[in-house]
Symmetry: C2
Subunit: 205 residues, 2 copies
DNA sequence: CAGTGTGAAGATGTTCACAGCG
DNA sequence: CGCTGTGAACATCTTCACACTG
């Protein structure tokens, strides 16, 4: 059943390794050791080695990892060797902030089209992304063959929107609405829950 | 050292229990069982019971948990029985989206003041929150006795802003910048990392 | 007798410690 | 000699299973 029993946590850390590597590469370093990584990311160096070794023997004993090569490997593992088109539902506060957010412009992810049910928003453009009518969503997603959906609608609409996205062929959903979505298990779900983060945070204060 | 060795994961789930409870209360139910919770939240019922039992014996055998009472208990455990004022640094895309976001208006959290170093933004108001000059941040946070900071500045400025916040007396930081912040260990940190979420998500596709 | 609370077993993740290679 | 890769020990979290009680 499992791909190869790679801990979820390892996958969690890969993006951090990648980000760290990209910085290091910018600084011109050719090699990086697990100890080096572990300092920058506040984790155990054995963890770094184990994480990386799940995917192959990338390192050279006595030396470390070649930064360029490792970055390429991690990008490939994470499926970042292609550009991902996304559809965004809900062009309200957070939705339009994401449309304006240029962190995506680095190339891996791009919001191709946005949807809203507010007629005043439909037809407008934000940061070059057209806002279309909510009821055209399924068709557009299908026609454009979009596989990633972002949900930034109010909580009470989130499940319905998610269902429509899945129906239209979306395989992964990033949900900002504070609701637990019920999706077919083959659909991947990531949740960003700001209130939850705050509530956890203050527990520890 | 540990408070009482309550799993982080348990704390992670408390906000979900709470949200679920509030829905149930709205629907008029007086009791809820662990099995009931487990269906709604997709987790094991023993987990629910164990999580709740870390904090006391809240349930009644044969019946379940009293919704109102349990909600109150959880709010108290999470320290949500007071209002938390927050300071927000960086009134750009995400920052202003958070200012406009009315999920906070439920009462537990409120952005009291925002800061930006762009002179064009300073002096403006977004959703009733004044934007002040970045260099007044330390003083204002200290004067207003604010204990929670939100960082929505670009990644390369995040560490500096975080340091200033800590210097000014902030005890918890919610960071939206895609950087690993280095903070004194007594300062609580929560991270919202949208790109990381997406990168993880597509790994599984 | 339905549903809690909880030891004990099981599963998952992390760290240690060291053999082995460049 | 330095650093990787990895079995084994350890730590943490989840699930099972059942005694117990309102």
């Amino acid at each position: 059943m499992k791909e190869r029993s790679i801990p979820k946590e390892t996958i969690d850390r890969l993006p951090l390794y990648l980000r760290c590597l990209e910085k290091i590469i910018d600084e011109g370093d050719v090699n990086i050791s697990s100890g080096n990584f572990s300092e920058k990311l506040n984790l155990n160096s054995a963890q770094v080695r184990k994480d990386l070794s799940y995917f192959g023997d990338f390192g050279t004993r006595g030396v470390g990892y070649k930064t360029e090569t490792l970055a390429k490997q991690i990008r490939s593992i994470l499926h970042l060797d292609k550009k991902w088109d996304m559809a965004l539902a809900g062009a309200g506060n957070i939705g339009s902030a994401l449309l304006t957010y240029n962190g995506f412009d680095e190339g891996d992810f791009e919001v191709k089209v946005a949807f809203d049910k507010d007629p005043d928003l439909v037809g407008k453009e934000i940061n070059g992304v057209k806002i279309e009518a909510a009821d055209s969503m399924e068709k557009v997603i299908r026609d454009e063959n979009i596989k990633l959906g972002i949900i930034t609608v109010p909580a009470d609409a989130a499940q319905e929107v998610a269902d429509q996205m899945v129906e239209a062929g979306v395989e992964g959903v990033l949900n900002f609405a504070p609701t637990l979505l019920n999706l077919p298990k083959e659909i991947q779900l990531a949740q960003v829950d700001i209130t939850k983060e705050l509530e956890q945070l203050v527990y520890y204060l």
